[in-house]
Symmetry: C2
Subunit: 194 residues, 2 copies
DNA sequence: CCTTGAATTGAACGTGTGTTCAGATAATCT
DNA sequence: AGATTATCTGAACACACGTTCAATTCAAGG
C-alpha cells in the first residue's frame, strides 16, 4: 500500500518541519530519530526524504529560517538610541516568548551543524547582535548611555533577555507585559548615564 | 589479554569522568557513545562499567558534583546586600569561567536526565538561585535596591552572568578582571535605587 | 613463589540508526 | 476512461548503540 487518503505534499512538508521542531526542542537533535519524526507525522521514515535531503538539513533550515525571520521581523522605530533600545528589548522578548522551541534549538544545537552550516547560522546571529551593538554605540556617542564596553554589554543584554524563555510560563504570576516592563527597567538602568 | 601495563582503578575512574565531560560538552550527551569515551580513556567499552552503572549516571554525577561544588564554594562575606551582591557576581563569573565544560552540560543536558535525576539537579539549581534572590530581597528591604520583582531579577542576572561562558575567550581583548568589573558595573546599576 | 582478587579484554546480544529504492497507490490531466 | 505523475510504503543495507559476561592478565599479600 502507499499514499493513504487525503495526504498531500502541501500539508506533509510543514508537518515534517513542525514535528522535527517539537521533537528536537524536547529531546535534542541527536536523541531524535527519523522514525520518531515520521511516526509523529503519520508516515513512514522513507517519505521524509521527499522533504529534506537529510536529517541535518532539517535542523539547519529550522535554525536558518528562524534567524532570518527574526532579522526580518524587526523594524527599528524613528527616534534616539534610548527609544530604539526600548523597542529592541520589548520586541526581542515578545518574539522569543512566541517561539520557545525555535529559540531553544537555535541556541542549543549549534554543535550538531556541519562547519559550513554553522558558519551561516553564526553569521546571522552576529548580524542580530550587531544591531544591538549599534544602538549602544549610538547612545554612547551622544552621551546618553554610560556603557564602558558595548561588545560585552551586547552579549550581556542578549543573554539576559533570551533567558526569559527558560523560566517564563504562560498564565503564571507575571504577564508578558509585566515581563517586558521589568526587563526594560533593568536594561535601561544598566546602560543609562547617571 | 587484559590489563595493560601501568593502569589502576585510581587513575582510570577520574579519566573516565574527564573524558565524558569533555566529549559531552563538545558533542552533546546523546551524540557521544560509550565506545568514544572508552577510546579517549584508552580502554575497552566494557571497562567503563566498573566506574559507572550506566551512561546516564555518568552525566548525572557530573552535573550533581558540579552544582554541589558550586554551592559549597561560595562563602558570602560579611556586610550589606550590595557587598554580598558584588561578591556573588564576581564569584559566579570567576567560577564559571574556570569550568566552561561543566557549566555547559549542566545547562544543556537537563533533558537527558531521568525524572528523578532531573528533580535532584533542579533542586540544587534552585538552591543556588535562592541565594541571589535572598540578597536582592535584603537590599529591597533596606531600601538600597530598587528591584520591582526579585524573582525575575534573579533569573535575569543569572542568565546574564552565565552567558559569559559563551563568548569569553582566554587571551582576548578583555581580561577576567575586566569582565568581572564590567558585569558588576551593569548589575550594580540595574538593581541600585536611584 | 604461589594464591587471591581487582582490572580489563573481546566477543556477543538485541535493538536501533540514517538512508536508499523498487514497487504500489491515489490524485490529476488529457 | 486511460495515462501520467506526485506521493508514500515496506523492506533492506551496513553500521553503531548500550550493556553484559566469561575468560584473561597483572599487581599485591602471605
Amino acid at each position: 500500500m502507499a499514499r493513504t487518503q487525503g495526504s498531500h505534499a502541501g500539508t506533509t512538508g510543514p508537518k515534517v518541519r513542525d514535528a522535527a521542531l517539537r521533537l528536537f526542542a524536547r529531546h535534542g537533535f541527536a536523541a531524535v530519530s527519523m522514525r520518531q519524526i515520521a511516526r509523529e507525522v503519520g508516515v513512514q521514515a522513507g517519505a521524509l526524504y521527499l522533504y529534506t535531503p537529510d536529517k541535518q538539513t532539517l535542523l539547519f533550515e529550522l535554525m536558518r529560517d528562524h534567524l532570518e525571520d527574526l532579522l526580518a521581523a524587526w523594524d527599528p522605530p524613528e527616534g534616539g538610541a534610548l527609544r530604539r533600545l526600548e523597542h529592541f528589548v520589548r520586541h526581542h522578548i515578545a518574539y522569543h516568548l512566541d517561539r520557545p522551541d525555535l529559540v531553544f534549538i537555535a541556541y542549543m544545537e549549534l554543535r550538531n551543524l556541519s562547519p559550513e552550516n554553522f558558519a551561516t547560522i553564526e553569521g546571522l546571529r552576529r548580524d542580530y547582535e550587531n544591531r544591538l551593538e549599534a544602538i549602544l554605540n549610538e547612545g554612547v556617542a551622544t552621551g546618553r548611555f554610560d556603557v564602558p564596553d558595548t561588545k560585552l554589554a551586547t552579549m550581556a543584554v542578549i543573554s539576559m533577555l533570551t533567558g526569559v524563555t527558560t523560566w517564563f510560563r504562560e498564565g503564571g504570576r507575571l504577564s508578558r507585559t509585566d515581563v517586558g516592563n521589568l526587563y526594560w527597567d533593568m536594561v535601561r538602568k544598566a546602560v543609562l548615564a547617571a
